[in-house]
Structure formats: C-alpha cells, structure tokens
C-alpha cells in the first residue's frame, strides 16, 4: 500500500474547478514530481494536501491514517510538512532563532513559559544539526531577511525538515534560482530521499528529470498521466500541452 494517497480531491473557486477529482499516490522513499503549465492548480493542490485550504471533496491518507478532517497543524504533527513557493521564514529573526522555533514545535510542549528556551541544549543541538545538513551553518547568526534568495529557500526547506516529516511537500524549491543554487538544491533534495517521501512541484524540467522517480502531469486541475521520466517524455499529449520543444534539449 502506498505511503500517501490523495483520493478524488476537489476544490472550486466560484465557477472555476481548480482541482478536479485529483488522485495521487506517493510511495515510501519516493520522489514524486508534479508538473503542469501555469494555472494548472499545482499550488492549490499543495494547499489542499497541507490543509491551508479546505477541500470541497476527497480524502487524504498518510500511512494508513486519515488526515482529511485534521487541522493543518495537526497534519504536520502527523508527518506531513511543506515548503512554500515564496520563502516563508521569520525575516526579523536570526537563522538560529528560525531553526530553534521550528525544532521546538516537535520537541515537547510549547506552552512552557518560565524556563529560558535558548538555554535548552537539546534544541540548540538539533537546530545546529539541521543547519549543518542544509548548508546554513555559516549563516546561523545572520538575520533571515538579509539572506540571499537561494539561502532563504534552503532555510524554508530546513524549517519543514524540522518536523521530521514522512511526506514532504515541496512547492517550487528552485523557483527564481540561478543554475548554481539550483544544483545545490537538487543535491540537498536527493539527500533527503532516504528519510522522507517527497511530493515535488517544480518548473525546472532538468531538476525534475534528475530527481523524480515518478512524474504526474496536472492540466486544468486534472491528472493527465503518471509515469517515469521516459513515459512522460514520450507522451504525445504531455508534449502538446506542456513540454513543447523543451524535452528535446
């Protein structure tokens, strides 16, 4: 049985059917990429799965546990973490404080209100380990808002990783990046494959073909087809609606 299944997800915005009975499965240890032209409803789908948007119909199951009725924060606790297309970090705080806040959420109660948080060694160590593996160790004391774009995206990813997810939703982790930053991000994501399954939304086709075990194509809120890279590259309809001549290169 699949680690994660979304079944018959529907979302309407007025007359627009943004998500049209979408069903998806992600296997354990798999990187499943979701591609599609602008406006296909990819980000909406991520919002539905993470719970930031309520779905009109459908269900979501992670590891045999039904998440459909859970609030967004409870879904994170159940093992489903997400990144944001536009980096969503705490811009006025240092990278260290960002990471501490993220690891704190998973380590005991956040209603503790008398002891000093920064004196908790276990939290500091986890934050530093997280910085180490995401390449942020050098900038731990910098303000998150002053980081270059590529580093902010990495911080965004680190915040999601702090939840120790079973399934990680990545909403365009390479968006707006130069080739060098992109390659570093690809390496980082590949390194995660052992510990969490990933649903990857990405426009950068090179990155998708490098990373994905399986690719689904979303068009007008519907899944057009699913398969491995070769299947997608050879699919006539996909080429027509989306890839165009890009595949040739």
């Amino acid at each position: 049985m699949s680690l994660f299944r979304a079944e018959g997800l529907v979302k309407r915005f007025g007359g627009l059917l943004a998500t049209d009975h979408v069903s998806l499965a992600v296997e354990a240890g798999e990187i499943h990429a979701l591609i599609g032209p602008n406006g296909a409803g990819k980000s909406t789908l991520v919002d539905l799965i993470s719970g930031l948007l309520p779905a009109d119909a459908g269900r979501i199951v992670l590891d045999g546990v039904e998440l459909t009725a859970l609030t967004p924060h409870a879904r994170t606790r159940a093992g489903l973490a997400r990144c944001f297309q536009i980096s969503s970090v705490f811009r006025n705080d240092s990278v260290r404080d960002n990471l501490l806040l993220a690891v704190q959420a998973q380590a005991g109660s956040s209603f503790r209100c008398l002891s000093r948080r920064d004196a908790e060694h276990a939290l500091q160590e986890r934050a530093e380990a997280l910085a180490q593996r995401t390449g942020l160790a050098e900038v731990l004391e910098r303000n998150a808002g002053t980081l270059a774009h590529g580093l902010q995206k990495r911080l965004d990813l680190a915040l999601a990783l702090a939840a120790r997810p079973r399934l990680l939703l990545l909403d365009e982790p390479m968006a707006g990046m130069g080739p060098e930053d992109s390659q570093q991000m690809v390496a980082l994501i590949r390194g995660l494959a052992g510990e969490t399954a990933i649903l990857l939304i990405e426009h950068d086709m090179d990155a998708v073909f490098q990373l994905a075990d399986r690719i689904s194509v979303l068009v007008y809120g519907k899944v057009l087809t699913s398969g491995d890279a070769a299947h997608i590259k050879g699919h006539a309809e996909v080429q027509a609606v989306y890839l165009g001549t890009e595949v040739a290169g």
Partner: protein
Amino acid sequence: MPERFPGLARRLPWLVLALLAAFPLLAPALGLEYYVGFVRRVLIVAIAASSLNFILGYGGMAALGHAGFIGVGAYTVVALVEAGVSSAWLAWGSAAVLAGLFAAAIGAVSLRTRGVYFIMITLAFAQMLHYLAVSLRTYGGDDGYGLYTPLALGAWLDGAHAQVFYWVVLAIAAAVFALFSRVAHSRYGHALRGVRDNETRMVALGYPVYRLKLAGFVAAGAVAGLAGGLLASHNAFVSPSIMHWTQSALLLVMVMLGGAGRRWGAPLGVALWLTLEEVLKLYTDYWHWPLGLLLLLVVFHAPQGVAALLERRAGKEGAR
C-alpha cells in the same frame, strides 16, 4: 553592537525598583506626599498596560477591549464587597480569575477573526460589558459604587504604615513585570512572537496557533482584571466609565507610545503619558492638545516607541 553601558541595563530595573520603594518614605520630606497616590495609580495602569503589551506587542493581537477586563476585575471587587467580603487578597484574586474566564469566552470567539475584524469584535464585547455595568442598579448603575471601607490586607500588613497599599501595588507590579519578561524568553514567548510574525508558517510548523493565542489572551485578561481590582481599591470607587472604549484606546496609545513588544514599553508609556497629563493640567485646561502633539512626534520620529529609541541610544539595537 557592543553595549555602551555594560551592566547598567541589568542594574537599572533594580535601581528603579529601589527608588519606587523608597518614594513614600522620601515624599514627605520633599513635599511630594500628594504624588504617592499618583505613582500608585501609574503602577496599577502599568500592570494593565503590560498585559496589553503582552498580547499586542508579543502576540500581534490588536485588542481594543482591554478596559472591559479591567472593568470585570473592578466590578468583581464591588460585588464581593457588597456581599460582605473584606479580604483584599480574596477580592483581587477573584477579580483576576473572573476576568480570565471572561477573556476565555471572549477570546474563544474573537480569535477566530483577524485584523480589523478582531479590533471591532473585541471593542464590541467590551462595550457590551460597559452597558451591562450601566444596567446593574445594585452596583449604582451609571452613578458608580463607592467602596467606603478599605479592604483588609490581613495579618500585620494592616496599619503597619499609612502607605502599605502602595508597597503592595509596587510588589505586584514588579512581579507582573518580571513574569512577563521571563515568559518573553520562554518557549511560549518565542512561539507567541512567531505567531505575530508569520502565522501561516507557524501553522505549517505544527503549532496549535489558535490555542497559543487564546492562552495569551486569557493570561492578559486575568492580569488586566487584577489591575481592575487594584484600581477599584485605589479609587475607592467604581463606575462603568472605567471600561468605556476610550479607556481601551488610551491603554493602546500608552503601549504604542512606550513601544509595543518592548520589555519596557508598557511602564514607560504609562509613566510618560500620565506624568505629562498631570504636569500639563497644572498649567492649562487644554492639556489634550500638547499630548496629541507628543503622540504625533512619536509616530513620526520613533514609530517603534520610546523604549526602542532608548534601546538604540544605549547601543542595544534589536533588544527585545
């Protein structure tokens, strides 16, 4: 940036506390006896403002109904006195508990809204409490209720010194200030600021954002209720005007003037505002407009409040 006055920042709170504690003893010699009562009022208002600063400055909740909780506290004292209770501690403790319960009920509804809606709904609840107090004939309605016998502090405290109530208020104010300062650096304090800065991300991190906010709202309501109870004793009189919406607005103004989200913001704002009001009243009946002018100056030159300005001066940019 290094601190320009190392150690001063750490010693200053104790220095201020010592001066405030000595004030009633020094006042007669300086001919300032009248101002002992004034400082007591400043301290009580500072307790209320600190609680508002906690949810506004740290939690990002712009509540425009805080005077409602002060009122609940004050009327709790009135109701208990009317029922024959004479213990100050019982009365003030009940004031805090009851205001906390009201805050739980009001917060549970209000915190489902955001931004302007939150401002309006907290205002609406406070106005409902105001009109409820107006309609309570037993407690004087619009005319208010006089508390003619001071509440008993118990044991050796009563009659130990004419100003014993002043020191009790000072001790409570110091404790409240120390408590909020401590909470600000705890897990909960960090989480609350996270909600203020980026609520969506906090949800995605797995934080129960609604419950975090509600806990802060209830704590702030309870402390405001305590301040209300103290204010009832201080004035020896309670009327519905104590929870008029202008009082909530004034409290907001004082917190912003001092610096929302700053450790010293609330006491500084309250001391500055009330002192200026007191001084200006000596010279003119039209004391409102210089205060308005001051507010404009602060908005334009120190939008983060006076506390932020002082922190910058002391070379502690970014301290919270």
